[in-house]
């Protein structure tokens, strides 16, 4: 109950800040930071919450790097996404879980249009079309699964996975990602590519786990194939793309492929914590990398050792966060006897080496103190939080009893 009160306070703070920001934009920022900190105290898992808090605050700070036409409100929108992401493990009710999926998605419709001093409606329309289709597919799939009708299980599963694939940008439903990433402003993209990816994954993970039947094992091959396709298309697409935004778009496609493979553990309760921890760490690694690289693109003044650190994290070089994410997923895949997918994951890590290093080289500059430089530094520091990852895995294990969603027939 306490967490609900705290969450309500957080939302109220956010709304107040957004209203006042009409006159005092700075108030929007501070109220959003206060709101996400309040939400952190209500979060079901402090280990998970601390990452969301850090990523959320970095997202909020990064908004200062763009002269937005909706200054003030943008803090409210991002703050709201962060609060919902914090809340996602607190509820076991299907309706609230699905509402969270939608609530995280909607603010991005507005954010994606943000440009310096104007709004890019064309990008917005393109993006919204895909997101709406994704949401419809996902919700349809989730409801079919929740109904528990055996004859429709496979249909529901596939619809949910397709919705998730479209939402996250998993190949072959990834077409919007490179285009939007190459065209939109780096600042909103750093938000869309970071905090907005977490809730869809967690919701899918929880629903698939809660509705798993004996049919799941057979239909899971579909997810595995999508994951493998996404890894290859993402990495190969990035290899010869020159624009940094497009490369990062394809990098997202590849990373979401790695992430997708962690969903294969939903039928194996024994490996569930490792898979979830791996998936989340991979998302956090992706978030740090995307925030860092997009900020580097925006400011054009990122310190080159930092850009290399971000690349190393993406590549899965120990002991950075990306290593643990990939390692946990690879171990899970091997244990659930999807060795071929683990091998594909590792091959893809090798394939991605050139373009991540190229990104680091091209975006890295000499040291120069600035807002975006600071954001890059902060994202590098986040990649170091899990040098010893036990505390995080323990936190996720403690979270396991809260994973199951009540389907209510």
């Amino acid at each position: 109950m306490n967490d609900l009160i705290l969450m309500t306070i957080a939302v109220v703070l956010l709304l107040l800040g957004s209203v006042v920001s009409y006159r005092y934009p700075r108030a929007g920022f501070f109220s959003a930071v206060a709101a996400v900190m309040t939400a952190f105290f209500a979060c079901a898992s402090p280990e998970y919450g601390i990452f969301i808090l850090l990523i959320g605050i970095l997202n909020l700070i990064s908004l200062d790097a763009i002269r937005s036409k909706i200054r003030g409100i943008d803090y409210g929108l991002v703050g709201f996404m962060v609060i919902v992401t914090m809340y996602i493990f607190n509820t076991a009710e299907l309706s609230l879980v699905l509402a969270s999926f939608v609530l995280v998605s909607v603010p991005t419709y507005i954010l994606v249009m943000m440009r310096e001093d104007e709004m890019d409606v064309e990008v917005g329309v393109k993006y919204i079309v895909f997101m709406v289709i994704a949401t419809v597919l996902f919700l349809t799939g989730a409801i079919i699964l929740a109904k528990g009708i055996e004859s429709l299980y496979v249909l529901g599963y596939v619809a949910l996975i397709l919705g998730l694939a479209l939402e996250l940008g998993i190949a072959p439903l990834h077409e919007w990602v490179p285009d939007i990433f190459a065209r939109a402003d780096p600042v909103p993209l750093s938000i869309i590519a970071s905090i907005a990816k977490i809730v869809p994954f967690v919701v899918a993970f929880r629903i698939l786990y809660s509705t798993a039947t004996e049919l799941t094992g057979a239909v899971m091959v579909f997810t595995a194939l999508l994951a493998a396709t996404s890894m290859f298309i993402g990495n190969i697409g990035a290899l010869t793309s020159r624009e940094h935004g497009r490369v990062l778009g394809y990098s997202t496609v590849a990373n979401m492929g790695y992430l997708m493979s962690s969903l294969l553990a939903v039928t194996e309760p024994e490996f569930l914590p490792l898979a979830l921890a791996g998936g989340l760490l991979l998302l956090f690694s992706n978030a740090c990398g995307k925030i860092g690289f997009f900020s580097a693109m925006k400011g054009e003044d990122a310190y080159s050792p930092f850009t290399y650190m971000l690349s190393f994290s993406f590549l899965g070089v120990p002991p950075l966060i990306g290593f643990w994410g990939k390692l946990f997923i690879a171990i899970t895949l091997i244990r659930i006897e999807y060795v071929w997918l683990a091998v594909i994951l590792l091959i893809n890590s090798a394939v991605s080496i050139p373009y991540y290093l190229r990104l680091a080289k091209e975006l890295g500059k000499a040291w120069h103190p600035s807002l975006t430089g600071f954001i890059v530094l902060a994202s590098v520091l986040i990649t170091l939080i899990t040098i010893a990852p036990n505390w995080f895995v323990d936190g996720i294990e403690a979270l396991m009893p809260l994973i199951l969603i009540e389907m209510g027939g």
Binding site: V125, K126, V129, F130, I133, S151, L152, Y153, V154, L155, Y157, V158, A159, L162, L166, P172, L173, E175, W176, P178, D179, L215, A218, V219, F222, I233, I236, G237, A238, L239, T240, S241, L274, P305, Y308, F312, V317, P318, P319, F323, L327, F328, A330, I331, I334, R335, V339, A342, L346, I347, S349, A350, I353, P354, L357, K361, A388, P389, N390, V393
Partner: protein, 572 residues
């Protein structure tokens, strides 16, 4: 009481404070104190202060696996000792450098090398292995030149690829056996793909041809002091893991023997002093890899002792050539000559390294190299013996004769004026030179450190006369043909000297093959990027930028998937 202190972590965590120290003198003192602390730690470990040798320390549970960060035994201690001693001398050599982050990289690199040596399990081994790769990368990039940037890029591509192969092997091994303990894989060799992958990961770092170009490409491009660090840790930690994991595997014995000769042959064709020395690392590591492959007690002792001695003299040689580069800005033979009159101390210190690597009696190379060569004779492998002895002649040719002649002596007027390098550089070289001579004259402290009891006596008349004859007969042809050993502006792979065999066709065949290989070698990476590029273009072809095109694709995929799902659902 403290259970144990990891010497590598002293360097790793200690290095992070270097940029925070403002006073230059304090910073320099601190930079030297770090390896001294690690050395004291090692001595305490040896003396049994933390529970003796062998012992295990720092077992950490991570997701159900026990990582062992401190496996202390004779093999790990001997490598740890030489890593720390080398780091100390190298830090003295690098004291005049003002780039804090280069110092940090160097200490991270040395510390992670120690991490590899003490790792008792495959996961912590992999973690330190990778830290070693990326920390050393900056030692190349700090040079700041275009070619250094490119070489660093290729260097890290090799190592990350090798790391991924290693990780793949480790994961398959763990899946098959359920154990992450790092022990010998000899009994399991051939039973699973895992061991091929692990071996591939190891031999990339050991620079076994044809997987060696990262070394000969990157080391000459590193900073003057960075290259010195790089000579010690990557290849020697690879030798360590080969001894630990694959001792007795005949395949690596052959690889090592071929490698010893291969490095020498290609070294002869070089015009750059540091590149010539880099090829000799390939050759010298060949002795160690070969020793590991033989697997007998004497061969393992020989490989270990040679790794120990090689780190000392090869660092000294790189320091000597680095000193030349530091004061003249040049390292090509065609741009150097006659430096003896300006840099006599550097020359003599360099020559101590040159005599050591050539295996002269009274220098440390003699007491270690002869052990490996004799081990090959004892197991009746005449071809291996021949390759190793032959490589000795080539080494003497290149390092003790060709390089000094081109750099320090020349019958022509010197093309560049120079002076002795800073005193700290000479001091670092002096420390290593003293160790080379000390261990050459009195090898007992080294032999006491070796993993097996040593029953080998280096100073027998047979050994001494044998090597003297070999070197003497190598000197005579050099002196006769000394003009042919001058540096040339371009690397020309003239294979005439290699194969004076009747039949033009055969010669042309050999030339073509070598030149083709050299061209491949110049590219220094895989051939599959072109294939990937083609694939990539076709993937990008669907990115028309039109919403309607994307919707068509997406709807088609969704509809087909849902239809298949419905059919599949009914069938299931």
């Amino acid at each position: 009481m403290i259970e144990w202190i990891h010497p590598g972590l002293i360097l790793i965590f200690g290095s992070l404070f270097i940029p925070l120290i403002g006073n230059r003198r304090v910073k320099q003192a601190y930079f030297v104190i770090l390896p001294v602390l690690a050395l004291i730690d090692l001595i305490l470990i040896s003396k049994g202060f933390f529970g003796g040798v062998p012992s295990s320390h720092w077992s950490i549970d991570i997701v159900g696996y026990d990582l062992l960060l401190g496996r202390v035994d004779k093999l790990s201690m001997v490598f740890a000792y030489v890593f720390v001693i080398a780091a100390l001398c190298m830090n003295v050599y690098a004291l005049h450098i003002n780039r804090d982050w280069e110092h940090v990289s160097a200490m991270l690199y040395a510390g992670s090398g120690l991490g590899v040596v003490f790792a008792g399990d495959l996961f912590s081994l992999y973690i330190f292995w990778e830290i070693m790769a990326w920390s050393s990368l900056f030692l190349i990039w700090f040079r700041g030149t275009r070619s250094a940037l490119d070489a660093g890029f290729r260097y890290i591509m090799w190592h990350l690829t090798g790391g991924i192969l290693l990780l793949a092997g480790i994961l398959i091994h763990v899946q098959t056996t359920g154990s992450i303990e790092f022990v010998s894989f000899l009994d399991s060799w051939g039973s699973s793909m895992a061991y091929y992958l692990i071996l591939l990961g190891f031999i990339i770092n050991a620079a076994v041809p044809p997987l060696h170009p990262w070394l000969t490409d990157a080391y000459p491009e590193a900073t003057v002091t960075g290259a010195v660090y790089m000579t010690a840790f990557t290849t020697k930690s690879a030798v360590y893991v080969l001894i630990r994991g694959f001792a007795g595997l005949e395949l690596i014995m052959w690889l090592g023997a071929i490698m010893a000769m291969y490095g020498v042959i290609f070294a002869m064709l070089q015009n750059d002093g540091r590149r010539l020395l880099a090829y000799h690392i390939v050759s010298q590591v060949g002795y160690m890899v070969c020793g590991a492959g033989m697997g007998t007690a004497m061969a393992i002792n020989g490989a270990t002792a040679h790794a120990f001695c090689h780190i000392l003299y090869k660092a000294l040689l790189f320091m000597g050539m680095g000193a030349v580069l530091e004061v003249t800005g040049r390292s090509r033979f065609t741009e150097l000559g006659g430096l003896y009159r300006y840099m006599p101390r550097t020359f003599w210190l360099y020559m101590i390294g040159a005599f050591s690597i050539s295996g002269f009696p009274l220098f440390n190379g003699f007491v270690s190299k002869t052990m490996t060569v004799e081990a090959s004779a004892l197991i009746h492998q005449p071809i291996v013996w021949f390759l190793l002895e032959g490589a000795s002649i080539g080494t003497f040719f290149c390092i003790a004769l060709k390089l000094p002649r081109n750099v320090w002596f020349s019958e022509e007027k010197p093309v560049v004026e120079a002076k002795e390098p800073p005193i700290n550089m000479l001091a670092g070289m002096g420390m290593l030179a003293a160790l080379c001579i000390f261990l050459g004259i009195y090898p007992k402290p080294l032999y006491d450190l070796l993993p097996y009891p040593v029953e080998f006596v280096p100073y027998t008349s047979e050994h001494v006369l044998g090597i003297c004859q070999l070197l003497f007969f190598a000197f005579i042809p050099f002196w006769i043909m000394r003009e042919s050993f001058r540096g040339e502006e371009k690397i020309v792979l003239d294979t005439d000297w290699l194969v004076r065999i009747p039949g033009r066709r055969f010669i042309r065949f050999c030339e073509d093959t070598l030149i083709r290989y050299a061209e491949f070698d110049e590219k220094r990476f895989f051939v599959f990027p072109a294939l990937l590029e083609r694939l990539s273009k076709s993937i990008r072809a669907i990115q028309t930028g039109y919403l309607q095109d994307y919707l068509r694709i997406i709807f088609a995929i969704v509809i087909i998937s849902l239809i298949l799902a419905s059919i599949g659902g009914m069938l299931i």
